[in-house]
């Protein structure tokens, strides 16, 4: 059941070792990484029951969904549909990054074997995070992915900006994981006072009987501290607003392909951890973390969008917009929690909770494609020596027509313009918040804030489009060719964003089952 992970680990180790032998042949290393990731994601799609072999009734890889992938007792992991969906998303992002790296990392740059090895190991850590059902296992997987990304940011170790970004990322990331571990240790002890005994198992914490305040009012203060630490620690990873200051610096300073990995995959690790921890483990804790997460979500959207407006660097602008997008995804957590908590799990409550989680998952997927695509466009322009400054994008529509067109599509989709992917996922997400308002009317505020913020964000997205198409290029600037691999990566992301409506029709049943299995209805 861990075949894709095994393949990725083997590929990573092979790439690290072959890096020494093939120092002069980076294209061979690239091919190894590409084949490994492609094979792993193909098998993952197959395990989800959506692949070609399933359509032909070959079923080479039996689906782990249900009992076969349930290693809750031995390994504290459960490869359910929810986990498989996120694993596929992480692998697709890695695939895009690897494809584009061929055009972005120059052939003479050293240490390319380690570059691919660290990237694949980071992806393996992310995939295990999605499957973990125990707080401590989740922490270990989370750390695996973090440690690899710290090193990846400093891949160009002679570059002053990259090493500085790496130092900031390391300090923030290490402190946040320390805080998460402290929160987990408190939960471990607090669980000991209740009937379930000292444990960090999310399913035992959820109960019944589970970890509740009923009969133990004295555990409330440490529980609040533990929840604050968990929200803060994972919030750093997701760049939720009071903890977001590192994100623009790191995205701007790191090599752009690594920015893609950070914004599209690493941020979603934090989100999947929040889903697992709060919607399974701490669901029945009677401490009001739902309001806290809802307020954080609204603050994240608003601050991200407002601070994005004056930015001159395109990468920083995209970084702030990805902070805002994380705010939209956070809507799914309070919505799911309030629906499941407020009433006995009847039909309506479960429908709303499922709807909210489906919206969150769909937006995570579309967000990863949009953001990866937009950063890959920046990588494409950078590889031709165009600075990531708004001024340098003048007349890009004539200099690099395909990249400018793709950038336009990604930005419009990020703002949520109808035929594109961002519209559908935002629609599901916001309407789930409207539905949740029947349990608690304050949830209408989540939907309203989301819609207003989407409108606000159109302002700075449209400015980039204005620079690219309306303004004339500088004197002497000519048409440039873009490296083929980067164009291929952008093209795949573009296809996902434009065809979301079709893909969603294909995926929606799977997503609903995944959400149902996740909540255990």
């Amino acid at each position: 059941m861990f075949l894709p992970e095994t393949i990725l680990v083997v590929t990573a180790l092979a790439s690290a070792v072959l890096g020494f032998a093939w120092r002069k042949r980076p294209e061979a290393l690239w091919a190894v990484a590409l084949v490994g990731t492609g094979l792993a994601s193909f098998i993952t799609i197959d395990m989800m029951g959506l692949g070609i072999t399933n359509a032909l009734h070959l079923s080479l890889w039996p689906s782990p969904i249900g009992t076969r992938g349930n290693f809750t007792l031995e390994l504290k992991m459960n490869v359910d549909a929810f986990a498989l969906f996120f694993q596929l998303m992480f692998q697709l992002v890695a695939l895009l990054v690897i494809i584009a790296s061929r055009g972005f990392i120059r052939a003479e740059e050293p240490h390319q074997g380690e570059y691919y090895a660290l990237m694949l190991l980071a992806v393996v850590g992310m995939m295990f995070t999605a499957a973990a059902t125990d707080l401590f296992v989740l922490f270990l997987a989370f750390e695996t992915s973090s440690l690899s990304t710290f090193a990846l940011v400093a891949y160009r170790k002679k570059d002053r900006q990259a090493t500085e970004a790496s130092a900031k990322f390391f300090i923030i990331g290490a402190v946040s994981s320390g805080i998460v571990l402290f929160g987990i240790s408190l939960i471990y002890g607090i669980a000991g006072t209740s009937s379930i005994g000292t444990t960090t198992d999310l399913i035992l914490l959820r109960g019944p009987p589970g970890l509740t305040l009923a009969g133990h009012p004295e555990i409330e203060p440490p529980l609040i501290i533990a929840l604050v630490f968990l929200i803060a620690g994972f919030g750093f990873k997701v760049a939720v607003v009071p903890f977001h200051m590192w994100a623009p610096d790191v995205y701007q300073g790191s090599p752009t392909t690594i920015s893609v990995l950070l914004t599209a995959a690493s941020k979603n690790v934090g989100i999947v951890a929040l889903f697992r921890v709060f919607l399974i483990g701490l669901l029945n804790v009677q401490v009001d973390w739902i309001a806290a997460l809802a307020v954080l979500g609204i603050a994240t959207q608003t601050v991200g969008n407002i601070v994005a407006i004056p930015q001159r660097s395109v990468k920083r602008m995209l970084a702030y917009s990805s902070i805002a997008q994380a705010g939209y995804i956070l809507i799914a957590i309070p919505v799911g929690a309030v629906a499941v908590q407020s009433t006995a799990p009847g039909d309506r409550a479960s429908t709303v909770a499922i709807y909210g989680l489906v919206g969150g998952m769909l937006h995570v997927f579309v967000y990863a494609a949009m953001k990866a695509g937009a950063f890959l466009v920046v990588a494409g322009t950078e590889s031709r020596g165009i600075a990531d400054d708004m001024e340098a994008y003048k007349g890009l529509g004539r200099r690099m027509p395909f990249l400018a067109f793709s950038m336009t599509v990604f930005l419009l989709s990020l703002a949520g313009i109808p035929p594109l992917g961002g519209f559908f996922s935002k629609f599901v997400l916001f309407s789930s918040a409207v539905n949740a308002a029947s349990f608690n009317q304050w949830f209408l505020a989540l939907a309203i804030s989301g819609v207003l913020n989407s409108a606000l964000s159109l302002y700075y997205y449209a400015r980039v489009i204005w620079y690219m198409y309306i303004l004339d290029p500088e004197e002497g600037a000519q048409k440039e060719t873009v490296p083929r691999p980067i164009e291929a990566g952008v093209f795949i992301a573009l296809a996902i964003v434009m065809l979301t409506a079709v893909l969603a029709a294909f995926f929606l049943g799977f997503l609903t089952d995944a959400a149902r299995g996740f909540f255990g209805f």
Binding site: F136, L147, I171, L181, S185
Partner: protein, 97 residues
Amino acid sequence: MEYELLLSGALLCIGLYGVLARRNGIIVLMSIEIILNASILNFVAFSSYSGNPSGQIFALLGIAVAAAEAAVGLAVFLSIYQTHGSIELDKIRFLKW
């Protein structure tokens, strides 16, 4: 039990203070290790108090994570030293914080 928790709380505060207030990269790294050790102490204390050995396994794994983090951190600060000639973090201000 209370004494262990007080000690681990104190360690956490010392670590957070060190990360926020000190500017030398190595001292920041040491402070991060102190934060991790605070939670490791918590795990051992809770585990011995409740008689459930899993916390001690968590503590061992936590020490491994702390060691890996120290290795990556030292490598990062080494490359900072090579490019900037210093690991005083307030002198490194190329990107806007």
